[in-house]
């Protein structure tokens, strides 16, 4: 899987790249006109999709590209959202400060957690992200004076210009597109390629002089930064935060999104986020047992489609292309 990935990076001018861009442009155009035809509820739902898509894509920088078992990414998302909520309700600072501070605080927490985690490997790395992430959750859950404890913070004030759901929609869409472009550029930059090398062969990378730990730490902090931005978007959409944002099952949900779309494809997590958010809404209309449905879905995915939907499509596309090439 990973070898395939590297190969495709070296030949950027193949048809699938153009096809990908065509899909992206068409998708953006549709999304731009969508609010004019959809009801408010669906506009809100799509804004949630954009927020979640950014969160999942930021995780995939560490998970898919870094190959690190990052089990508690939701923490940085929650920290970002809480930063906005606290600044807007407990201080008189302007909104601009809140949205600037949120990703910075999130990446600072990511720096602290990541600094410890990158010393460990494999499952131990994952367990430490879990332990330290749950520590942050417990602090948020208990620090009543600052975070309002398990009640969360509600009715967070936002500027007048962001009060309508349509303006929130366009803001989240714009932020998502810009962030995805930046994340894409990061994955294609020398740093991103080196990160892939540290994933595929850490020992060899180390021996040719790559500082594996610092590359992983940087990826971790970047992912935390974008998760913080997603946290800001979450506050714009929901206007409230609760400690459950930072509990580990939220992070597991993001992992499922990444897996569902495909860890090896850049747009995979976005697709996964879209499917899961919309599906949870649709299933919710019919039954209260959404988690049961999600569990069964995940089971099928893990057993039969572990490379994810986009991963599978790319694989079969590549296979067909190489067969044609040989004939």
């Amino acid at each position: 899987m990973s070898a395939n990935n590297l190969k495709s990076m070296k030949s950027p001018k193949k048809l699938s790249t153009y096809l990908g861009w065509a899909f992206a442009v068409a998708g953006v155009l549709i999304l731009l006109v969508a609010p004019t035809i959809l009801t408010q509820y669906y506009v809100y739902l799509l804004a949630t999709v954009f927020t979640t898509a950014l969160l999942a894509s930021s995780l995939n920088l560490v998970l898919g590209n870094g190959g690190l078992l990052h089990l508690h990414h939701g923490v940085f998302f929650g920290v970002g959202a809480y930063t906005v909520a606290i600044v807007m309700t407990k201080t008189s600072w302007p909104f601009a400060v809140a949205i600037l501070l949120a990703p910075m605080v999130a990446s600072l927490i990511a720096l602290v957690i990541g600094w410890f985690c990158v010393r460990l490997r494999g499952l131990y790395f994952g367990m430490l992200t879990l332990a330290l992430g749950q520590l942050v959750w417990a602090i948020v859950y208990r620090w009543n004076a600052l975070t309002n404890g398990d009640n969360g913070i509600h009715a967070i004030p936002v500027p007048e210009s962001l009060s309508s759901i349509n303006s929130v929609y366009y803001t989240t869409l714009l932020v998502l597109i810009i962030s995805l472009i930046i994340l894409y550029m990061i994955t294609k930059s020398p740093f991103g390629i080196t990160l892939l090398a540290t994933r595929d062969n850490p020992v060899r990378s180390e021996s040719i002089g790559i500082n594996v730990k610092s590359h992983r730490l940087i990826a971790f902090v970047i992912a935390g930064f974008f998760a913080g931005i997603a946290g800001v978007l979450f506050v714009l959409v929901e206007r409230s935060v609760a400690p459950s944002l930072l509990f580990w099952n939220k992070s597991a949900e993001i992992l499922i999104m990444c897996l569902m779309g495909g860890l090896t494809v850049f747009m995979g997590p976005t697709l996964g986020a879209g499917i899961l958010v919309l599906l949870s809404m649709i299933v919710g209309l019919y039954t209260e047992y959404w988690l049961l449905v999600l569990g069964l879905l995940l089971l099928i995915l893990v057993l039969f489609l572990p490379q994810g939907i986009l991963g599978y499509l790319m694989e079969s596309y590549d296979k067909r292309r190489s067969m044609r090439g040989e004939n």
Partner: protein
Amino acid sequence: MDFATLASQFFIGLSRGMIFFIVSAGLTLIFGVLRITNFAHGALYMLGAFIAYSVSTLVGQGPYGFWLALLVAPVTVMLVSLVIERGLLRFIYNRDHLIQMLLTYSLVLIAGDLVKILWGTEFKSMDIPAVLRGSFNLWGASLPWYNAFLLIVGPVVALGLWLFLSKTHLGKICRATATDREMVDVLGINSTRVFAMVFALGGWLAGLGGALIAPTTSISMGMDASIVIYAFLIVVIGGLGNVWGALISSIIMGVGEALGILFIPGIAIIIPYIIAGVLLIVRPTGLLKSAW
């Protein structure tokens, strides 16, 4: 702060550590032998508690209810585990950690809703058997009998596991598989059967933990989420696959949490995570030698 309060809190922490140990011993065995990160372990524990409740209610919360529950619940959970292992887990032994983890996580999601369907969402409670009610005095500290009972069960389970792992043929194969799986395969030992048995044993231990905790807590949805994180942390800081490491770190966690409740009640919830974080940073591969 007098000595009696400290002693009784220490004692309660120790008995809580025993529950941690029983649950995480199963998890660490599965880790060591099957190399699977089993998120569903907490769900099995929850299932054990709910089945214990049902069994004891069925016989009318009478004097025998608890003991029958203690017998039936772990065995039922063991059978469920066996079905899970044969039906699902054996197909993913060669996959990434992430895939294995998410498969067991899907079981968490499914089990959560199944429990909701079968038992409803309201809290359940179960009586402590008459023999173990009340408390006794030890050096001026008042200690509940039930916790004393847990302090007996924990070492008995530990002893049983030790006998099994070091004295029986099957146990030796388990340890060998944990140390060097390829070698065990080369020797022509049917490792599939070992895997199924270890997973069933792990399930039995999770069910036992659930049945033991049932009389002391409100049995509810979501009791799986917190225990599984604790159990994971215990297993990792004890050294993956090392049962004795799990014993040591269970006691550290249990006592640490109990003393945290005594000294800093407001933020005691963060104590286990701090302990785990510090221990993992100081000894990244666990307190005792890992099987991996």
